[in-house]
Symmetry: C2
Subunit: 363 residues, 2 copies
């Protein structure tokens, strides 16, 4: 038998591929993580659950919702048994459901702490949406509860699992852009009245908690540093009833230990397509949009000749699948998640500082 | 005679055009402004003088330079007589040159005040490059000197004469973007060692004075408001000898009376293609690049359907021609320039506040 170069490449490719094809029970032969989804809003139904469905490492096995009808429809879609549909009163019974390994919490922010702690006490690992909580104290209690139960706690910073964000970080760390000097980032939208996000009791704060957190978190993972000082402004321009309990705008600047400065904006009053821009001695990159669920675009220039122009691969729900896969790997191998409770706590503390720098109460 | 629709349009067009074709002596029959150019750097030779050459309202009639050879070459190019070449010692003699109506000052920042005041005392109108001066006191003295001599003083904020910048302002003022909430703007570059811009005695400050001023000025003309409060950081990251007397980075945020917040960055340590981004309730626009001499690009979206995507018309040196034409109109018709000394003073005061907010000495 003679092999052409092409034959050899194909065979080598097949061999490599087969090594990575997960078995029915996942890569390591362990059983897929059984997920209980708490809260059936858009992010659960449109992103997380489809993301898990594409994962070889997890499956949806239980639901918690205040709307039985909605839950039953989703249960049918994902093959969840009727007996694994819980409501907020009886959800502590998940303790007795051995199919459930982990709980995904996608509730209004103020409920994150209670349901994370209840889930940990029920012996379950937790993946909680961001912002982690509505107070620093709650965030700490969540970490404590997970530690006490010896369960994992991860905060759903999906962008940190996104290939283009990872590429941007790698370009910076490898020195391709030279010494970084400044960063700008903004994210916001014109909110509709009546959303729970406008109720401080449920949301804990305004756009900073909801979308500004992306700019804050990106500034941290792009620089690889923690802000040393923060200055900020907040304002309400539209006195139309939407901003009676939360702010409309926050603008803040941060100084990092190396001297890098970052200038950020967030709003609930206008269209602010999320982006970041990083300026280095040798080049600059921009991702716009940066924080959407799909269609991210990384562009930039290094020196005179090297252009960067990359679109996200077909991705939805890749980001959520990657996030769920990472969580499964952490559970299987007893590793600390890339974005643990402590990562969420750091943002909580920094958002508290931003609010205080803007003359508002801290968190 | 029968006229087709096309014939009629052409005739109408010709009639309109002829009404605006300036006579040899300018639109109003007055003689073209005679310009004396002080300082033969890139901005004079590559931008201002070619800009005036394209103007029907002005001509280059005199030069002031420390380099006689360079001045003679430029004199030949622009038909300036050898007797109208001055140096910094004898330039007060421009008083006796009746051909000179106005002086264009493009010197290192710290020399703006002295040469503006000398020009005013010589009975000449002045167009001075930005930043207007290196101290608030000098800026005030320049305004006083021009008033005492009953001469015009204009600061060369060329972007305020740029069609795309004017279009952005009109979109905002007309309410097309809805209530503006936030602005981001940045401008900077990686400076070469040895430039006069790195010497505080000549420059007065670092990138804030040189390029950050574009972001500051744009935030003011885009909002149509004056910043009420300012918070800032400054840093030096590269201890390579360039930043011994001026800062490397400034990051600042401003709050305007309406509640609009602006976040700005400037650097001498990295590539920061100048831009601004304006976020309103109904839409958002971005100009990138915004502060170059050509190739500006205004993009944005209003609501779901209205896309904005406009490139600058063939422009070089249109911006400088428009600026020089405006100045001629002001001299001819005894009008206050759109960007008078007071506009420059306002930026000086605000840059002084920015420096102080960053813990540096004011101006």
């Amino acid at each position: 038998m003679t092999l052409t170069r092409r034959d050899f490449s194909r065979l080598a490719g097949l061999a490599t591929a087969s090594a990575f094809v997960p078995s029915a029970h996942g890569q390591t032969g362990q059983h897929p993580i059984g997920w209980c989804v708490v809260g059936l809003g858009r992010i659960s139904m449109d992103h997380f659950m489809p993301g898990v469905k594409l994962s070889q490492k997890g499956k949806i096995v239980a639901l918690v919702s205040g709307h039985r009808d909605k839950a039953e429809k989703q249960a049918t879609l994902y093959g969840v048994s009727q007996s694994a549909i819980y409501n907020y009163d009886n959800m502590d019974a998940i303790r007795d459901n051995k199919e459930i390994d982990a709980v995904y919490i996608a509730l209004p922010n103020s409920m994150h702490a209670e349901y994370t702690i209840r889930s940990a006490k029920a012996g379950k690992h937790v993946l909680c949406e961001k912002p982690m909580a509505t107070s620093v104290a709650d965030a700490k209690a969540m970490i404590e509860a997970s530690k006490a139960a010896n369960r994992k706690l991860m905060i759903a910073y999906r962008c940190q699992f996104d290939p283009l964000h990872i590429k941007a970080i790698e370009m910076i760390r490898s020195g391709q852009l030279g010494q970084i000097q400044g960063i700008e980032s903004a994210f916001g939208f014109n909110i509709q009245p009546g959303e729970w996000r406008l109720d401080r009791k449920l949301a804990g704060g305004g756009p900073l908690m909801d979308v500004g957190i992306y700019c804050l978190n990106a500034s941290r993972y792009l620089t690889g540093e923690e802000p040393q000082e923060i200055k900020a402004y907040s304002s309400v321009i539209d006195h139309d009833g939407r901003f009676n309990t939360v702010e409309e705008n926050v603008s803040w600047t941060m100084k990092f230990p190396s001297g890098i400065v970052a200038a950020c904006n967030t709003t609930y009053g206008g269209n602010m397509n999320g982006y970041f821009r990083v300026h280095g001695a040798k080049g600059a990159i921009e991702m716009l949009p940066a924080f959407n669920y799909d269609g991210m675009h990384l562009a930039g220039q290094i020196g005179r000749d090297q252009k960067i122009d990359e679109l996200s691969p077909v991705r939805e729900p890749m980001e959520f699948t990657r996030q769920a896969d990472h969580f499964a790997d952490c559970v299987w191998n007893d590793r600390t998640p890339k974005t643990p409770g402590e990562e969420g706590l750091r943002d909580m503390e920094l958002m508290s500082e931003i609010y205080q720098a803007a003359g508002l109460p801290g968190l």
